[in-house]
Amino acid sequence: MKKAETILNERDNILGRIREALKASAPLPGSHGGSHEHTPAGPPASHAREWLPAVGTSAAEQFELFARNAADLKADFQLLASREELKAALIKLRDAGKWQRIASHGGELTDFAGKSLGLPVTLTDRGYDVQEMEQCDAGITECDALIAQTGSVAVTSRSAGGRALSVLPPHHVVIARRDQLVADLPAAFARLQEKYAPDFPSMISFITGPSRTGDIERILVLGAHGPKKLTILCI
């Protein structure tokens, strides 16, 4: 009991030391040694767009950029014209991967995918058996945004069936709508904030390509712990 009390009190001790330390102010960034001048850059929230990689202006350019980034990341990106094409693309994936069982969550696009595939489905919405999900050949989810600038997909625990669905099965298939494409990272953060703040889902994840590692001789290997394949179907 004694111990727990002392540990609890560390909050005030730490904050006290911080406040004491901050009574003296530190030189501004870039002004060490007193020599070099610096011009303030301004807060990232309003200016980051001017510094980050360029993204083009039209939607067509941005779809092209997303496709290029996805290819660099070894993700499979398909821009589809209709529900029929979406269905055909899913069936092609199913047959190529010899899928037996999939995991997914309730949603307008994921329900459509489930019906199109005609396979047994593990749904995560009302809790699920982890071993069963581990045995699934693919996890199919919706998403919150596609980011042209980086080729990333933003998912959350609310929009994409929880935390594990997008990383546990060996193939992650994302189904997105065209209007979910945003130009850059600042736009993606703004969209998430608009949609959820202050009640954020407990997990927000930016997925940029299939899971990877370079821990052995810095050589790229896909599928380190998460999915070996990432497919993004956009209609």
Binding site: I14, V130, D184
Partner: protein
């Protein structure tokens, strides 16, 4: 052996190991090419650096307010926040959580803070099983070694060595291709995520505005660690705060670019609580442990406070000529390379660790590489100043005093020059040996022969001739 003689001995050994040097250089050359390409894609990398430096300045110089805002929001959503002044307290807090949960197996994703407080040793001593899930960390854990590099823990090992290790420790290594070896680790780890009682993670950023912890990784091991076990524990240094959610739009791509030459790391994940009502999965309990461990001492040093801006990207290690030659383990510290040389004296004692700041040519490539513009080589110099101010080197001072007297008096000076010419052959006889008072310097260096005729003699002769 003292830390300094250990450093010297290992540095000598590693520098002579040409295979090691070649291997590290090759690995880092690939990194450099990728990083330059990614930096080039930025419209203005320099403005981005300046903004990142200003943002971290704001975060650190209002640290108390940000920590209060962060914890208020984390707690509002059911997260338990703990505060630890020392490594020992952090270890005790974490061990107590594990005891309460009657946990046996802990799956862990990469966290340098846990290396800093030697968490694994402490937990294993208490009988808990700790499994590192990051591939590089898993490899060094199997070797009972510390990470070689803060971002690339196993970069010093060849595929052959890793294959042998897997064969010996796991009895499974079909070939020595990185692909096959990675799949061995994947197989081993899969069931561990599912059966572990507690998932442990580090963190890269903490967002004050929204009460979130952000974790950056490539493998997906941290995602799984934070998804499947019933209890999650996160250990984070108090300096990791960022003021706003939108700051991540800049910091995430900068961390990836500077650290690994990637446009974005594969998974950048923000957690704001344990499993919330209506969510499919996630831990029932989430404990966040905020660690001071002498960071507030660094904070109190206004001149060096900005060393707390570090986002642990590893860029300064990658470009450092000293790191490349002596290797990561030689430092004997958790944080190696230039940033390790700057902060270790603060975290572990100036006099014991000042030699790290002396092991530098002050070339400044680290400062140029740093995405948050920490003036690293300025701080290396500052550490040297602090070290000699708090414990002056008397012999050195005496030597300079004598030099001052001699150099100020023309008669002494010309006598010294003549004596130098006369005695130099005597020095050659003992050069570099135990009898040589200047051997630390002369062992590896040659003094050019002193000319019989000094410049002054020559000048006088020339003037006369005219």
């Amino acid at each position: 052996m003292s830390f300094v003689s250990q450093f010297k001995a290992q540095a000598g050994e590693k520098t002579r190991d040409l295979r090691h040097r070649q291997f590290i250089r090759t690995a880092l050359r690939g990194y450099e090419t990728a990083r330059d390409k990614r930096k080039g894609a930025f419209q203005s990398w320099e403005s981005a650096r300046q903004a990142a430096a200003e943002t971290k300045w704001e975060a650190i110089n209002h640290l108390d307010e940000h920590l209060v805002a962060l914890t208020r929001q984390l707690e509002a959503r059911g997260t338990k926040v703990h505060w630890a002044s020392t490594g020992a307290q952090a270890r005790e807090i974490i061990a107590q959580i594990l005891r309460d949960k009657q946990a046996r197996c802990i799956i862990k994703s990469k966290a340098m803070t846990s290396e800093e407080i030697h968490l694994n040793d402490a937990l294993e001593k208490e009988g808990f099983t700790v499994v590192e899930s990051d591939l590089g960390e898993f490899i060094v854990q199997l070797r009972h070694e510390t990470p070689y590099h803060i971002v690339f823990p196993s970069m010093h090992l060849t595929r052959g060595e890793i294959r042998e290790l897997f064969q010996r420790e796991l009895g499974d290594a079909p070939s020595d291709t990185p692909e096959d070896l990675t799949m061995v680790a994947r197989r081993v780890m899969r069931q561990k995520y599912i059966t572990a009682d507690v998932g442990f993670t580090g963190a890269n950023f903490a967002i004050a505005e929204t009460g979130m912890i952000s974790i950056t990784e490539n493998e997906g091991n941290s995602r799984l660690t934070a998804a499947l076990p019933k209890t999650m524990v996160t250990l984070i240094g108090i300096e990791k705060v960022l003021p706003r959610f939108a700051d991540l739009a800049l910091f995430l791509p900068m961390l990836a670019t500077a650290g690994a030459g990637q446009p974005m790391t594969c998974y950048n994940t923000m957690y704001s609580g344990p499993r919330q009502p209506g969510e499919a999965d996630g831990p029932e309990e989430w404990h966040v442990v905020l660690l001071d461990n002498r960071r507030t001492e660094l904070l109190a040093d206004t001149e060096q406070r900005d060393a707390l801006h570090c986002i642990r990207c590893g860029a300064c290690l990658n470009v450092c000529p000293i790191f490349r030659n002596v290797g990561g383990h030689t430092y004997g510290t958790t944080y190696s390379g230039p940033v390790g040389a700057v902060i270790t004296p603060h975290l572990r004692g100036l006099q014991e660790w000042k030699h790290l700041s002396n092991a530098s040519s002050l070339c400044g490539v680290c400062t140029e590489a740093c995405p948050v513009k920490i003036d690293l080589h300025h701080h290396l110099l500052q550490n040297r100043r602090n070290a000699s101010a708090s414990q002056p080197a008397f012999l050195e001072k005496l030597a300079y005093k004598i030099f001052g007297i001699v150099a100020n008096e023309p008669a002494f000076w010309s006598l010294a020059k003549k004596l130098g010419w006369l005695t130099q052959p005597l020095h050659d006889a003992v050069k570099g040996s135990a009898l040589d008072p200047a051997r630390a310097w002369t062992k590896t260096r040659d003094l050019p022969p002193m000319p019989r005729e000094t410049f002054k003699d020559w000048w006088r002769k020339r003037m006369k001739a005219e």
